[in-house]
């Protein structure tokens, strides 16, 4: 199942669905990196609220997305990681270091608005 990418002002929002195959993740990665330049977006929010399991591939892909988007001149925020998933990820050593995180979509938007307000 493809992940829809929504444009919201200066940001792009990608919301994960429950079960994503590795192929879906790869196409999401390409889609986000292409669209972030096409829409001249300043940031990307990846919402993983629906994911109750995060394997190492998904976790690594998230980090790669964040790094690729940084190279394309924008910022990434991962939002909505479940408490159990968060702890399981940390125990597996998948800590998404260098990637901004927020509690949910609202928090993520607030974080980005705050950040870009000061730079403007």
């Amino acid at each position: 199942m493809e992940v829809p990418i929504l444009k919201q002002g200066e940001f792009l929002i990608a919301t994960f669905q429950a079960a994503l195959s590795d192929a879906d993740l790869k196409s999401l990665r390409i889609g986000l990196v292409q669209q972030v330049v096409r829409f001249r977006s300043r940031a990307v929010i990846v919402d993983v609220t629906a994911m109750d399991v995060m394997d190492s591939f998904a976790s690594r892909t998230l980090r790669e997305i964040a790094q690729m988007i940084r190279l394309r001149g924008a910022e990434t925020v991962i939002v909505g990681i479940q408490p159990e998933v968060a702890f399981a990820m940390v125990q597996l050593g998948l800590t998404l270091e260098g990637v901004a995180t927020a509690l949910d979509l609202e928090e993520g938007l607030a974080y980005l608005n705050e950040k870009f307000k000061t730079t403007n």
Partner: protein
């Protein structure tokens, strides 16, 4: 019978001391002896199959023989038990007196008064004789539980409870010796009937006591666990987690779970974990703390750890914590101040202090 070790295995639900070696066969039900045969032929390999069959056949007939034999044996022993019970009832007062004086002599149950010991001894004696008579242990078990419930808070130890039951066993056995000293054969048979039942009674009482004790301990552990991990909100989006006492891995996991859930429900941005009340932690738990900090970050919350003792600081350095992710402040006050700064609060006095 080269494999006799197999036949003499303990049977589920039957304490090993309850029967003499001969009656082990009677403990085997038909299905169990089937299983036994399965075990034997399973181990025998192809070459020994026929040997195993012969063996299991002979074992079958042996089992049947002894089953018939033990049936007669049971009847005789219940007859003997009746006689025994009559004897114990008849000499109730005297035996009870002797038992109580032995209890005081050996300085058991020092936490209880003489009258209390006497009262309890009377009921224990009666339940004991009743258990011997009916060969059912439920009533005795319930009584032992009830007794344990009453005496555990007064500091009665396991060895005392087991001790008094064994004393009673001893007193009764001595009276039997005295009664049947002329008829050695009869004495032997009476003891055959008495010993397993007495052992089982001692076992029942001891188990009830220990179970009651464990129940109390579990209850208290539960209470401690519930009390010991508050996640408190001090300001909008600011949580405090004060940890006091020893942290074992189980408690650490529970703390983490509660904290992560608390972050979600309170929509916290900053968490102050105060470990002033924790003297030391081992590497596993320290590692867990670091993981908790990282997991909180994944939920979008910043963690500030305050009140690290020198020992814990040493542990954290020893396990090689990345100090970039650990935000530490000396004391709780400093931690809250920094958290307020992060959240954009500014605390100003509204008036001059009086």
């Amino acid at each position: 019978m080269g494999d006799s070790g197999v036949y003499l295995r303990p049977v589920a639900g039957v304490p090993p001391f309850e029967t003499t070696g001969e009656s082990w066969y009677s403990c085997l039900t038909a299905s169990e002896s089937m299983q036994l045969r399965g075990v034997i032929s399973g181990h025998s390999g192809q070459g020994r199959d026929d040997v195993a069959k012969r063996e299991s056949g002979s074992q079958d007939s042996a089992a049947q023989n002894s089953r018939g034999g033990s049936l007669a044996h049971t009847e005789a022993s219940s007859e003997l038990l009746r006689e025994l019970v009559a004897h114990l009832r008849q000499h109730r007062t005297q035996l009870r007196e002797e038992w109580v004086s032995r209890i005081t002599e050996t300085r058991l149950l020092t936490a209880m008064t003489k009258e209390e010991i006497f009262a309890e001894a009377t009921s224990v004696y009666d339940s004991y004789v009743e258990a011997l008579e009916t060969e059912t242990f439920e009533a005795l078990q319930a009584y032992a539980r009830n007794l344990s419930e009453r005496i555990i808070p007064r500091g009665v130890e396991t060895h005392e409870v087991v001790g008094i039951v064994l004393l009673l066993r001893d007193v009764l056995a001595r009276s039997l010796f005295a009664k049947y000293q002329t008829d050695f054969k009869k004495l032997n048979r009476i003891l055959d009937a008495y010993e397993p039942a007495a052992n089982r009674i001692a076992n029942t009482v001891a188990i009830s006591f220990v179970q009651e004790r464990e129940r109390v301990i579990r209850q208290q552990q539960e209470a401690i666990r519930e009390l010991s991990t508050p996640v408190l909100q001090v300001r909008e989006r600011l949580l405090i987690l004060p940890i006091i006492g020893v942290i074992d891995p189980q408690r650490a996991r529970q703390l983490t779970e509660q904290l992560l859930r608390g972050i979600r429900t309170n929509r916290a941005k900053v968490v102050v974990i105060d470990i002033t009340g924790v003297a030391a932690m081992d590497a596993t738990v320290a590692n867990h703390l670091v993981q908790t900090v990282e997991a909180s970050r994944l939920l979008g919350a910043t963690v500030i750890v305050t009140g690290l003792s020198p020992e814990i600081a040493q542990t954290l350095v020893t396990i090689g914590v990345d100090l970039g992710i650990m935000n530490t402040v000396g004391d709780l006050q400093g931690g809250i101040e920094q958290a307020e700064r992060l959240l954009g609060y500014k605390v100003v006095p509204s008036a001059e202090p009086r």
